[in-house]
């Protein structure tokens, strides 16, 4: 067992503990604790944004700036792949 493996096992187990404890302590599946923000969105998504689809009204109106970041990420990924493959001979 090389030292690299021992370190990897150590890191793996420490990080794994974090996820196990959080999965145990999180609210039980099916009844979320606090729901104030989401109820506000569900009740007046039609009146404020005019959209029937609650998720799309969040993606493009309530949290539209995230989706602008989203479009930038896609734009950055395409620009970087094009840059990495810029030396293609036709």
């Amino acid at each position: 067992m090389s030292t690299r493996n021992i370190v990897a096992v150590l890191v793996f187990s420490i990080v794994a503990l974090f996820f196990v404890f959080s999965a145990l302590l999180i609210h039980p599946f099916g009844d979320p604790g606090a729901v104030k923000m989401d109820d506000h969105i569900i009740t007046n998504t039609q009146s404020e944004t005019g959209a029937n689809n609650g998720v799309t009204s969040i993606v493009f109106d309530y949290r539209g700036f995230d989706t602008l970041g989203e479009a930038t990420i896609l734009f950055a990924a395409v620009a970087s792949v094009m840059m990495v493959f810029r030396r293609l001979k036709k």
């Binding site: 039980p28 979320p32 729901v35 998504t45 689809n53 609650g54 998720v55 969040i58 989203e70």
Partner: protein, 121 residues
Amino acid sequence: MIFNIPFIAVVAMIFIGLFAVLFKRNLIKIVLGISIIESGVNLFLITLGYREGGVAPIYTSAPSDAITNTPGSMVLPVPQALTLTSIVIGVAVLALMLSLVMHIYKQYGTLNVRKIRRLKE
């Protein structure tokens, strides 16, 4: 109801992904490990938003009883929007990593992490 099985599935996926990233030597397996962790975290986000007997938060042709007690009968929409963003991030990171792996294979001739060690201490 199934008590906390989705959260156990989340932890299992994150374990598998982490195992692949830390212990596998092939570059493509590391990239696949990261996608597995990514889908595990997405599953975690989605399961946070489930509500007992909830319907999708869409009003078009929604069942009439869901309309009457509106907020309580619909699933939380915010985690779904966050997961949409996280999925597109996963696609972008995957595309970038795979193009780098292709170039590393062209330059080094191998995909074995041990042999790609030109940046010495």
